[in-house]
């Protein structure tokens, strides 16, 4: 009885914190405290968090090395833009279309390729990302290589924030469910998992499709904030950027992915003032982190309230 009461208080407290954070930023934007530069970087941060958390589900938790995340992002971005800009649908429909299209793409790619392992899967997904890009380049409906310009700015803070929260909630809850246990067991030892009666391909595809779906969501949000999308935006370097975040944060740590996404976005922005040596500094910082934290910033641990309490010195 006492325990469940505590749970409720905590739950309410957590919801309150989330809402308070949301309101605080919303207020800062409407009151003009957050100027455009910080809004843009905040948006990049949230989009990168969605991308990193969803890729971490595939790469970190399922242990399948996917290099095609930008491809799913492209599918989402273009589906959403076609819905909102060409067919005149509301943004909500665009977002749903983006998620569905990316999930379908993930399923189509996932079923045949997830039978492959390690390097082979990496190459197959890399190839998929490139195919998407080249196909988009040759579709005149979406202006080919020039891309779609003048996309209306529909990605507002509420949409962005709650999309990010939903992504994190779904991924974290999935990992902590029985599905999650099965998914992690595939990563730990595929043969053993299979012997225990787990349909490994099925769980791999589930993780892959969910990861792809959120990449599509990120694509939709990206397109409706950055005014222009072109196939070149979603090249394999974009996939690598996301992979860097996941590896830097620690494979198999959602909090790690989030911290790394924030860190990298902030780092890129902070280095803007040093145009000449920017990329050198960026690379150096990554190398240094990897030398001293080869397992990533968080390893495969999570930063939870227990950790927080421990650091704070509080006891319960």
């Amino acid at each position: 009885m006492q325990e469940s009461k505590h749970k409720w208080i905590r739950f309410c407290g957590e919801v309150l914190i989330l809402v308070a954070l949301f309101t605080a930023v919303q207020y800062a934007i409407t009151a003009g405290l957050l100027n455009m530069y910080y809004q843009i970087n905040l948006t990049s941060m949230c989009i990168n968090i969605i991308l990193a958390v969803s890729l971490n589900l595939i790469n970190g938790f399922t242990g399948q090395l996917s290099l095609g995340h930008a491809g799913f992002m492209a599918v989402g971005a273009y589906s959403a833009v076609i819905m909102t800009q060409f067919l005149g649908q509301p943004f909500a429909i665009g977002i749903i279309a983006a998620c569905v299209a990316a999930a379908i793409a993930g399923f189509i790619i996932g079923v045949p390729t997830l039978r492959l392992k390690g390097d082979y899967l990496a190459i197959a997904t890399l190839a998929f990302g490139e195919i998407i890009r080249v196909v988009l380049m040759n579709i005149d409906y979406v202006n080919g290589p020039a891309g779609v310009v003048g996309i209306s700015k529909l990605t507002t803070w509420p949409v962005l924030y709650w999309s990010m929260i939903i992504t994190i909630l779904v991924v974290v809850n999935l990992i902590n469910s029985s599905y999650g246990r099965a998914i992690v067991s595939v990563r730990e030892d595929e043969v053993a998992a299979e012997l225990m009666g787990i349909n490994t391909t099925r769980y791999k595809v589930i993780a892959f499709v969910i990861g792809a779906m959120f990449a599509g969501l990120a694509g939709a949000l990206y397109a409706h904030f950055f005014y222009i999308i072109k196939p070149e935006t979603f090249n394999f370097l974009k996939s690598f950027d996301i992979l860097v975040m996941v590896v830097l944060g620690g494979l198999g740590s959602t909090t790690g992915a989030i911290i790394a996404a924030i860190f990298i976005t902030a780092l890129t922005a902070a280095l803007q003032s040093f145009p000449a040596i920017r990329m050198i500094l960026y690379a150096l910082i990554l190398i240094i982190v990897m030398i001293y934290r080869p397992q990533g910033l968080m390893g495969n641990k999570e930063f939870s309230r227990e950790t927080f309490n421990r650091i704070w010195g509080g006891r319960k």
Partner: protein, 395 residues
């Protein structure tokens, strides 16, 4: 388990929040300090210093910095010194947007750059929202200054270069009139709007002049082997081969064409303008090739000679078109500030739209109602590895 999840989440989000606040506060303080300086005019240079087209951005920056130095040495504009703030947009559209926002934040009155059309479009919404003029030195896509959906001119966006269609038209006229070509093949960069745009207008003008396009092939960015398509083109034996693309692909392409025994004259657009053309394709292979450009450093016009000398003295290299366009962009801005007699962004924007017969390095220009300059273009020929000006064509 549910509890643990939410716990983690709440801590995370808290961290984001703290970070956001820290970043936000830092920015606010910085702003307050900057706005009091009245003795200088801040000009933002948002150019590609790294990434795919870093060489364009670097040269443009050098040209622009030379212009700023000369203006400041001569006493500045309206008695105020120009203060350039240089930033790198990594050749990415979203980065260009973020850089523009940072520059606006620092209180710039106008932005020069980025170079490539797609990156200019990335920074467009920020400039439009803040009403700060953007002068694109080399963005040649028609829809940079015009909203395609409504057909309206984008208020704050200007450029000092001619647009893609003009380059295609120019080369078609040159091929038909000066080279006497009756048939032509097009081998375009099909992965960029640049390649497609030039090819389209070349075809239109060439056919209007009574010529025939006998073959149309395409390559994509990062291709290295062009022999298959070149062999097909050789079979058609065209009088002229039009290769609109960027130098990374064009240089090996020209080399392979000559190795296959294709002797027909070849031509392209300003994407050919790079020292890499000669080092990769080699001088003998480049003989009998032409490209359209914004200006030629060989031009005997005293203004150009003076510019080339000053540039060489400062950087010890030949100024290419991007350097010249960067120089012109700054000079145009200075002219507009003088015309407006004010360094307010709104006044500058108004003055820019009214620019008439401005004498730039890349020719005399008048800004039309779509914010494009009406100006001449030049045809440049490669002769034994040197760029030699062939003709100047006034529209």
């Amino acid at each position: 388990m549910r509890k643990g999840v939410l716990k983690r989440l709440s801590v995370l989000v808290l961290m984001v929040f703290v970070l956001g606040i820290a970043v936000g506060c830092g920015g606010g303080a910085q702003n307050a300090g900057d706005e009091d300086k009245g003795g200088e005019i801040k000009v933002g240079l948002n150019v590609e210093l790294s990434g795919g087209v870093a060489s364009y951005g670097t040269n443009c920056r050098d040209g622009a910095m030379l212009a700023i130095e000369e203006i400041n040495a001569a006493g500045g504009v309206l008695g105020k010194q120009l203060n350039p703030i240089v930033r790198d947009c990594k050749s990415l559209a979203d980065e260009a947007m973020s850089v523009s926002a940072a520059l606006v934040d620092e209180g710039i009155v106008a932005q020069i750059g980025p170079l490539v059309s797609g990156n200019v479009q990335g920074s467009t919404p920020v400039m439009m929202d803040n009403g700060i003029p953007l002068i694109a030195p080399a963005a040649t896509a028609p829809n940079v200054t015009v909203d395609e959906k409504t057909g309206e001119t984008l208020n704050s966006i200007f450029r000092v270069c001619f647009i893609d269609p003009f380059q295609g038209t120019l080369m078609a006229e040159f091929a038909a009139d000066n080279l006497g070509a009756k048939t032509a093949a097009i081998y375009k960069d099909a992965s960029t709007d640049y390649g497609k745009g030039l090819a389209e207008y070349f075809k239109k003008t060439f056919e209007a002049k009574g010529g025939t396009i006998v073959a149309e092939e395409g390559f994509v960015k990062d291709d290295r082997d062009f022999k298959a398509a070149l062999t097909r083109i050789r079979g058609k034996n065209p009088d002229f081969i039009y290769v609109p693309g960027y130098y990374q692909e064009v240089a090996p392409l020209v080399k392979q064409a000559r190795e296959l025994g294709i002797t027909a004259p070849m031509g392209g657009g300003d994407g050919w303008d790079s020292p890499d053309m000669v080092s990769v394709a080699t001088a003998p292979n480049l003989n009998n090739t032409y490209f359209t450009n914004h200006y030629s450093s060989q031009d005997k016009d005293p203004k150009i000679v003076a510019f080339v000398e000053a540039y060489k003295a400062k950087y010890n290299k030949e100024p290419d078109a991007f350097a010249a366009l960067g120089y012109d962009a700054v000079q145009l801005l200075a002219q507009a500030i003088k015309d407006a007699n004010s360094a307010e962004p709104a006044a500058i924007t108004e003055a820019l739209a009214k620019i008439k017969d401005f004498e730039g390095i890349t020719g005399k220009m008048t800004i039309d109602e779509q914010h494009n300059p009406v100006k001449a273009g030049v045809i440049i020929e490669f002769k034994d590895g040197n760029q030699v000006m062939n003709t100047r064509i006034q529209p």
